[in-house]
C-alpha cells in the first residue's frame, strides 16, 4: 500500500532530518511511529502527502509514485491519503457538516464547493460516519464550539470522507487530555479494522503505541532503528530509541521526552 525508499529530507541548508528511510506498510493495520522530538516523525508523515517536499527518494502510495507529481495529479494522489492533525485543523467558523464535507474537496467542483451542494452519496457517507463517532446531533454546530475530543472526531470523519487508501495521523492525541486521548486512539483503531484501512500514527505515548499498534516503528535522528510488533518493544529497544535525546527541540516545541515518554505520561505541548 505504501512503500518508501531511500527518503531524505533537508530543510534549507540544515542537516538531514530524514536519512535515507526505507519503510513498507501493508494492506491494513495500525502502525505507530515513535521517537523523541526532532526524530523526524512529523516530517516523514508530511512527506507522504507532500505537505513537506522530500529532498530525495521515492514514495509509492497505492501504486503511484507521489514524489514527482504536480498540480492535478498531485491533488488526485492526496485524495487517497487521509490526514488527521495534532491541532485538528478544522475550519472554526464553519459547521461540523461543512468541515466533514470539506474532506470531499478533492472530488467536487468549485461551484459545488461554493454552494455546499455535495452529491447525495457524500451526504449519506457523512451522516453514517458522524453517527459512527457519535456526532449526529452536532451536524449544524459550529466547529469552534465543540470540545477537543469532539473536534478531533470531526477531524477523523473528515479524513475518512476522502475515501482514503491510507490514513496518516500526526500526533492525533497530543492536544487532548489522557481520557479523550485514549478514546480517540481506540476509535482510530476500530475504524482501521472496520474499513480495513492501513493507518500510520505518529505518537508520543509509548504505552498507547504498545496498546493500539500492530506494528511499531522507532525513529531516531531520521533513521529507523526499530521495526517490529508492539510486544517486542522492550526496555532495551526503548533505550536505543530515546537514549541521549532528551532536551532536543523539534517542530512541535518542547515536549516531554526520554524517560517521561517511556513512562507513558501524556506529553502535551
Amino acid at each position: 500500500m505504501l512503500r518508501i525508499t531511500d527518503l531524505t529530507k533537508r530543510y534549507g541548508t540544515g542537516e538531514l532530518v530524514l536519512k535515507g528511510l526505507t519503510l513498507e506498510i501493508g494492506g491494513a493495520g495500525l502502525t505507530a511511529i515513535i521517537g523523541s522530538s526532532g526524530a523526524g516523525k512529523s516530517t516523514l508523515l508530511r512527506c507522504i502527502n507532500r505537505l513537506v517536499e522530500p529532498t530525495s527518494g521515492s514514495i509509492v502510495v497505492d501504486g503511484v509514485d507521489v514524489t514527482g507529481l504536480r498540480g492535478r495529479r498531485l491533488r488526485h494522489a492526496r485524495r487517497s491519503i487521509g490526514m488527521i492533525f495534532q491541532g485538528f485543523n478544522l475550519i472554526d467558523r464553519l459547521s461540523v457538516m461543512e468541515n466533514v464535507l470539506s474532506g470531499r474537496l478533492g472530488y467536487v467542483g468549485f461551484a459545488q464547493a461554493l454552494t455546499r451542494r455535495y452529491p447525495q452519496a457524500d451526504i449519506d457517507r457523512a451522516f453514517t460516519l458522524l453517527e459512527r463517532v457519535g456526532l449526529q446531533d452536532f451536524v449544524n454546530t459550529r466547529a469552534d464550539t465543540l470540545s477537543g475530543g469532539q473536534r478531533q472526531r470531526v477531524g477523523v470523519v473528515r479524513a475518512l470522507m476522502q475515501d482514503p487508501k491510507i490514513l496518516l495521523a500526526d500526533e492525533p492525541t497530543a492536544s487532548l487530555d489522557p481520557k479523550t486521548s485514549q478514546q480517540i486512539m481506540s476509535l482510530t483503531r476500530e475504524l482501521s479494522e472496520e474499513l480495513s484501512l492501513p493507518v500510520l500514527v505518529n505518537i508520543h505515548n509509548v504505552h498507547q503505541a504498545k496498546e493500539f499498534a500492530d506494528r511499531v516503528v522507532g525513529l531516531r535522528y531520521g533513521t529507523i532503528i526499530f521495526d517490529g510488533a508492539g510486544s517486542d518493544l522492550d526496555d532495551a529497544a526503548l533505550d536505543r530509541i530515546y537514549e541521549g535525546t532528551a532536551g532536543r527541540g523539534d517542530e512541535h516545541g518542547d515536549e516531554t521526552v526520554g524517560a517521561d515518554a517511556r513512562g507513558g505520561t501524556v506529553a502535551s505541548p
Partner: protein, 270 residues
C-alpha cells in the same frame, strides 16, 4: 537611630534623569523648538489677522444663529444624495478592493508581479485624498454625482484592500493545510481555508469604510462632485450663513448617526 536622625556628611542628591539623559532630552527639545521657530518665522501669515481671528470667528457664529430651516426640504434631499453616494461608492469599491486584496496579500498572490501590482494599487489609491480624486473625476466626467461616487470609491479601494490583505496574511494556516491534504486546489483553499476566516474582518472593514465615506462625501460638492457640499458652498458664497448653519447641523446629525449605525453593525459581525 531613627530614619530622620541619621547624619551624613553630604545631603542626599536625587535627580530624575542622568546627565546624558538630560542632554539628550535637551537636544530633542532644542531641535523641536528650532523647527517650530523656522515654521513660524517663514510662514506667510498676516499677523494682525491672527489677533483678530477670535473676534471674526465669534462674529461668524453670531451671523449663523439662529439656523434658518426654510430650505429644509432641499437640504434633506441633498443629505440623502450624500448618503447614496457614500453607499454606492462603498459597494462599487468592493468589486476592485476584493481582487486587489487577493493579489496584494503575500500568501494568495499568484506571483511577484501581481504582488507588486497589488501593492501599487494600494499605495496609489490610498495616498490621493478623496477631494483630489474628485477634482480629477470632475475634470473627466463633468460636475455631478458620477464624479463623486468614483472619487469616494477610488479612495476606498486602497483603505479596504489594505486592511483585507492584512487579514488574509494573518490567517491561521492549519485549515489551509487540511484542505491541501484533502486534495483541494487553489480555488477550494480560498473557499474553505481563507474565506471563512477573513469574512468577519471583511464585513467590519466595509462597514467602517462606509462610515468614513459618509463623512468624506459631505465635501465632494465643494469641488462640484455632488451631495450636500454643493448647497453648503452655495449658501456660503451667497452669505446665507443661517442656512449654512442648518446644513452644518444636518451634516453633524447624519455623521453621528452613521457612526452609531456602523459601530452597532460591526459589533454584530465580529
Amino acid at each position: 537611630m531613627t530614619l530622620g536622625e541619621r547624619e551624613r556628611a553630604e545631603p542626599y542628591r536625587w535627580q530624575r534623569f542622568t546627565l546624558a539623559e538630560r542632554l539628550g532630552r535637551f537636544l530633542i527639545y532644542l531641535v523641536s523648538a528650532a523647527i517650530v521657530f523656522w515654521a513660524l518665522r517663514t510662514l506667510d501669515v498676516f499677523w494682525p489677522w491672527v489677533w483678530s481671528a477670535p473676534t471674526e470667528i465669534a462674529d461668524l457664529f453670531g451671523r449663523m444663529t439662529p439656523p434658518d430651516l426654510r430650505r429644509g426640504d432641499e437640504i434633506l434631499r441633498a443629505m440623502l444624495e450624500t448618503i447614496h453616494i457614500a453607499t454606492l461608492a462603498t459597494f462599487l469599491s468592493l468589486f476592485i478592493a476584493l481582487p486587489t486584496a487577493y493579489i496584494a496579500a503575500q500568501n494568495t498572490t499568484p506571483n511577484g508581479v501581481t504582488l507588486w501590482i497589488g501593492r501599487f494599487i494600494l499605495v496609489a489609491t490610498r495616498s490621493v485624498n478623496t477631494i483630489i480624486w474628485a477634482l480629477l473625476f470632475v475634470a473627466i466626467f463633468g460636475p455631478g454625482v458620477m464624479a463623486g461616487i468614483l472619487a469616494i470609491a477610488f479612495r476606498s479601494i486602497g483603505f479596504t484592500a489594505k486592511l483585507m490583505a492584512e487579514a488574509i496574511e494573518e490567517i491561521d494556516r492549519k485549515p489551509v493545510e487540511a484542505v491541501v491534504a484533502a486534495g483541494g486546489d487553489k480555488g477550494k483553499i480560498v473557499l474553505y481555508g481563507i474565506v471563512p476566516q477573513v469574512l468577519p474582518t471583511f464585513l467590519a472593514v466595509t462597514i467602517l469604510r462606509w462610515d468614513i465615506n459618509i463623512r468624506e462625501s459631505t465635501v465632494l460638492g465643494l469641488v462640484g462632485a455632488g451631495g450636500i457640499g454643493m448647497i453648503l458652498q452655495g449658501a456660503i458664497d451667497t452669505f446665507q450663513w443661517q442656512t449654512a448653519a442648518t446644513i452644518l447641523i444636518a451634516i453633524l446629525i447624519v455623521v453621528i448617526l452613521g457612526e452609531v449605525v456602523s459601530s452597532a453593525l460591526r459589533k454584530r459581525v465580529i
